[in-house]
């Protein structure tokens, strides 16, 4: 039994060490990071949109973390924005960094596609805008009505993607999600860029702001 205990205690201690280095220390360091002054907290509606984003798993196809151009040049050149810094995520709970780019990075989609009509139409059916897109359509975020009521947000879908008759209007969830997309705009200058480019053995001169 003694040997068995020794193994289990040893195993637990090693995990403790790993927890200190990989959980506690980064937490201490990153929670001390400055929040960029231009970063606005989410409004209630944007926060709701964020929940819709989580519930429908947009994160499995979209990242929110442009990399440093000296490391991965494509990110900035595609217009996905400057490299993100820990402070940019001060209001993100849970984080939505993502690890897949089946679709483009969305960290600055609000700056790239600032039109709410574009966002709604794209959500209703991405192929109505981008031929051959493999993003799923989200018809359940919209209502199909004969006559839009007062205050309804009408979404004009180009044929043949819309319904034969009647009109498509956005639900509260769709509006909130679209507002969240517009809020994803981190084009302000970052006060705390990483001290070194991730590729620390490369020269630092060609760092982009």
């Amino acid at each position: 039994m003694k040997r068995a205990l020794a193994i289990m205690v040893g195993a637990a201690l090693i995990l403790l060490l790993a927890t200190l280095t990989l959980v506690v220390m980064p937490y201490l360091q990153m929670s001390a990071e400055q929040v960029p002054p231009d970063l606005k907290p989410y409004t209630e509606q944007q926060q709701r949109g964020r929940q819709v984003y989580i519930a429908n798993g947009c994160v499995y196809c979209h990242s929110q973390q442009p990399r440093d151009p000296s490391f991965a040049p494509g990110d900035k050149d595609r217009g996905w924005g400057r490299p993100s810094v820990p402070g940019d995520y001060a209001y993100d709970e849970p984080h939505l960094l993502g690890t897949m780019r089946t679709g483009p990075d969305l960290f600055n989609i609000g700056a790239r596609q600032p039109s709410i009509d574009w966002q709604l139409m794209h959500l209703y059916n991405p192929r109505a805008i981008i031929k051959g897109s493999i993003m799923p359509s989200y018809p359940f975020l919209f209502r199909h009505v004969d006559e839009p009521a007062e205050g309804d947000k009408v979404v004009n879908i180009p044929p043949p993607y819309g319904p034969e008759t009647g009109t498509i209007v956005a639900t509260e969830d769709a509006l909130a999600l679209a507002e969240y997309m517009l809020a994803l705009d981190h084009t302000y200058p970052a006060p705390t860029l990483p001290k070194k480019p991730p590729n620390s053995d490369e020269p630092k001169e060609n760092r982009a702001p």
């Binding site: 195993a11 090693i14 790993a18 798993g57 040049p73 709970e93 849970p94 031929k131 799923p136 359940f140």
Partner: protein, 538 residues
């Protein structure tokens, strides 16, 4: 870099170097042949040299030459029967979740090239069925089958009947309730939002409790044990069962980790589920099955212990290689990359032991289903891990990080390694628990070929396409939609491969149920891929 961080980095470097030196030392001192008493503890007295495999009929099953030996074999039969209810609870559940998870995986795959497939209902949108797939196969299939096999191995390793098996049965029920609630929550859109941690944290408590209940029989049986040496498999199983509740608890501490530091905790956890939970279970099973079926101890016991401790040390720190290039401190990423590369030490020691023990016995792959599944699994462990160590390097990861290449690696690990070993273990265990032979050899063959061809198509197509996708993404001159179109054929090929795998799982589940119901004719002879003697084969 602050001084504390520098010191930490130095310590880990020193530890890694010590590990490497130990490896070199043990090779130089020919540790491969000495100190093998412990390696023999898995055999009953006099059993060495006899294969314990239902699928190896050319040898007479070993029943003992002396009364002492016969008593030992009978004691093992008693030990096997003692774990019966607990093992069958966990294994049957796991087979159910494998089927469910496969259908969800297949549907996710179809949706990635036919985006209009099943879009009307929010419950079946890609972003919900994909996490249902991941959680069903990880926590349902892999974890439950792993615990089931562990419960079978514990009494055998300690040579005493399982004590407190009912705790494991209760644990199994709680775990299943957790899965039902968790998967429903994802379907209803109540996900916690972090990959590998989608289940709402309130539900996760059920897994901590269910897992802890399985540790009870482990501890009680260990206290009762009749063997002097703890065989290396018990090391892996004990450590895994300690690690899992701990990990799950910390990672789920609600709202403790916001923003970017939440991402580090997320991936620290996710990789520990792989490295400190399913991997030790998979390697541990292979460490038992390969020597047992060959009737020959592993070639180096010392090496296996070095492998164990270096795995614990290095694997626990690799998690941040999932965030290379992300908005987190550079030292943290470097730490994880260093450890990812150092992981080649445990991987190579395990490879020497698994494959070295096989040398000279490869012909047995022709007839033993267990050996074939388990050894191919062990080989794929070596391949997936060495691939992983490369993939963690910045120069490679910058290409592969956000692409289908990662998905191919994930299935090489979780499927070709882990699931294959679990399939092999189930083929070994069931006849011993039900005292019934697998009724149809052809079904085992069919299962093997369907899943092997399926996973081959899956991994090859996505690896190639993922690499090309990654290279193209770095070059902004290539429009994004062109990249999407370029990957389409591979995504379609994945659906073909995945459909074959799902078919294989249907065959496997059917055969498993037939075993539970004791269908088919009673045979005296073990079920082989090929009849070894002229029996009345069906």
């Amino acid at each position: 870099m602050t001084p504390t961080i520098a010191i930490l980095l130095i310590i880990t470097f020193v530890l890694s170097t010590v590990g490497l030196l130990l490896l070199i030392w043990s090779i130089a001192n020919n540790q491969f042949s000495h100190g093998q008493a412990a390696a023999r503890t898995i055999f009953s007295p006099g059993e060495e040299g006899h294969s314990e495999d239902p699928a190896r009929a050319a040898d007479e099953p070993f029943t003992g030459d002396t009364s002492e030996q016969t008593a030992a074999i009978e004691a093992r039969w008693t030990a096997d029967q003692s774990s019966r209810t607990a093992v069958l609870t966990w294994l049957s559940s796991s087979v159910f979740w494998l089927l469910l998870g496969s259908f969800f995986g297949l549907a996710s795959s179809i949706k990635m090239h036919l985006p209009e497939f099943l879009t009307a209902s929010e419950f079946l949108t890609f972003g919900r069925i994909r996490p249902v797939h991941l959680n069903a196969v990880t926590y349902g299939w892999a974890s439950m089958a792993g615990i089931g096999v562990a419960l079978f191995l514990i009494p055998r390793l300690f040579k005493t009947p399982l004590v407190g098996g009912k705790y494991a049965v209760i644990g199994g029920f709680i775990w299943n309730i957790g899965l039902v609630l968790g998967l429903s929550a994802i379907t209803l859109g109540l996900s916690d939002g972090e990959e590998w941690l989608e289940f709402p944290w309130q539900i996760d408590i059920l897994f901590v409790v269910g897992g802890a209940l399985c540790a009870v029989p482990l501890l009680l049986t260990a206290a009762n044990r009749k063997v002097e040496h703890l065989y290396v498999t018990s090391w892996y199983l004990m450590a895994a069962l300690v690690w899992f509740p701990f990990l799950f608890l910390i990672a789920n501490l609600p709202f403790a980790f916001p923003g970017a530091s939440g991402a580090t905790v997320n991936w620290w956890f996710a990789h520990n589920v792989l490295g400190l939970w399913v991997t030790p279970i998979g390697i541990g099973i292979a460490y038992y099955m390969i020597p047992k079926i060959l009737g020959k101890p592993i070639i180096s016991y010392q090496l296996s212990l070095i492998g164990f401790w270096s795995l614990a040390l290095f694997y626990s720190q690799v998690g941040i290689h999932h965030l290379i290039g992300g908005p987190i401190p550079t030292w943290l990423v470097t730490l994880s990359i260093v450890h990812s590369v150092m992981m080649s030490i445990p991987v190579i020691t395990v490879a020497i032991n698994h494959h070295g023990t096989m040398i000279g016995n490869f012909s047995r792959l022709k007839d033993s289903p267990t050996l074939r599944f388990v050894w191919i699994g062990a080989l794929m462990y070596t391949v997936a891990s060495l691939q992983g160590s490369m993939e963690a390097l910045r120069s490679i990861n910058v290409i592969t990080h956000f692409t289908h290449y990662t998905v191919a690696h994930a299935h090489l690990g979780m499927y070709a390694f882990l699931s294959f070993i679990l399939f092999g273990a189930v083929y070994f265990i069931m006849p011993r628990l039900t005292n019934w032979e697998w009724p149809w050899r052809k079904l085992i063959s069919l299962h093997f070929w369907l899943v092997s061809i399926g996973i081959l198509i899956y991994v090859v197509s996505l690896t190639v396409a993922g690499w090309k996708q990654g290279v193209a993404l770095l070059d902004a001159a290539m429009p994004f939609m062109n990249i999407v179109k370029m990957t389409l054929p591979a995504l379609q090929a994945r659906t073909v491969g995945g459909a074959l795998m799902t078919l294989g799982h249907l065959v496997f589940a059917f055969h498993f149920i037939a075993m539970l119901m004791r269908s088919g004719a009673a045979t005296e002879q073990p079920t082989l891929f090929r009849p070894a003697t002229k029996e009345n084969a069906q």
